[in-house]
Amino acid sequence: MTEKTFMAGFGGQGIISLGQLWVYCGMKEGLNVTFFPYYGAEKRGGIARANVIVSDKEIASPLVTKPDSAIVMNMDSLPICEEIVKPNGTLLINSSLVKVDPNRKDVKVVKVPCNELAEEIGDVKIANMVMMGALSKVTGAVKLAKLEEVLKSFFPENKHKYIPMNIKAIEAGMNAVK
């Protein structure tokens, strides 16, 4: 099993955190993982991008040029993701912000209203966690089992009070694609 995911959104949507937490959970589940962010000279703004791979084999190139799955968190990211996702791959779209349908007909499209679901739970900032739940459910690559324990080891202690909310968001994302 190798799942290559490309993640994109605007700066501030938590693309980098999403990618890091995804591979961290993968690593805790015994997988090999790589996370390579796009890094630019911008101080703020721009599209945040992450190349993310989890695999039960040695990972060759850490660059994701033909993703099995792509996460589209905002409108500007759709053309980038649509161009590179591989045939029969999956586009996971944040339908709260992306109101158009992709042109590609040879890919699976999964729409998740991440912002709405996150706001219902209490904070739009955890829209990325909703999407992570959906990614887990759709790909099965990272199971996100024993989530509380894993999140406790990922976040510093002063952030632990936010863990229940993050778990709710992840579960909401999983349920949204049932």
Binding site: M27, N32, V33, F35, F36, E58, P62
Partner: protein, 355 residues
Amino acid sequence: MAEEKRLMKGNDAIGEAAIRAGCTAYFGYPITPQNELTAYMAKNMIDNKRTFIQAESEVAAINMVYGAAATGARAMTSSSSPGISLKQEGISYACGADLPLVVVNVMRSGPGLGGIVPSQADYFQSTRGGGHGDYYHFVLAPKSVQEAADLTYEAFDLADEWRMPAMVLADGLIGQMMEGVVLPEKRDLSKLPKKPWAVGHQGELKRPINHVTSINLVPQELEATVKARFERYAKIKASLQRFEELNIDKSDLVLVAYGTASRIALGALELAKADGINVGLLRPITLWPYPEKRVSELAQQGKRFLVVEMSMGQMVEDVRLAVNGRAQIDFYGRTGGMIPTEDEVYAEIRRILKK
């Protein structure tokens, strides 16, 4: 007992490995894409009650490393390509003074200020002596965050053992990427190698004067010093050429690539395998000393080579030297911060093999 695997950025893992190797003095100046390394050292060297200085320039930083190394400290600096160019004078002086120290280059694209994205175009500078004079130093090329940590740790030992600088040659991808890493154990500073040649503390040690210098105005003496150093180089070349290889026996064509390019070559190898085409992979780990013996053996066996680099073709010259006209050598490279894809390399394999 091995520690738990952690998720770390390459730059951070290099910093932590250096601290664990017993680096007691770090001097640096910020530059992308190695900034996290300098930042890591700023926090953690001071937390560990060791020396950290953000120098006023790269030139100052390398000369501070020279000074600290001369007193016997395990000293280190890091930078990225344009900054490493500025350090070359100091590296030449350290080679001329037989000083062990560690330099990390997280390569970006050039020449000049170039760009901030990954590249491998500093191979010539690293392996041919980027500064002036007759000299070489260790050049170690990690392919992963794990290896970046392991080779940085080992660089301090190699530098001390052979009394010469050791360079870890990574690139922006290795520096910026996160992977799982199991870190080596933290060294007891009291058990690091003794350096009776070092300067400083003369009063309390009551030893004769030591000189650490590269200058010698007597040509006969300087020639003898350089020749003695080259005998050391010959011993290193005889015993420390290091590489990893894969699928060589079954293959007529061998990919040769180091660092990030070797990861892409591995991907191309797997694509080829899926189509029933066998190619091998030779990945140099030491770029100096270059694994020329193995390349030569493979040429003798009738293999042909495809060298893959993130440059216009630099390591390919070492392959040509080792092959010495006995085999066909092709080259595929991207530059300017462009990273070749597995598909591009595979297309090149098919073109060469006419498949």
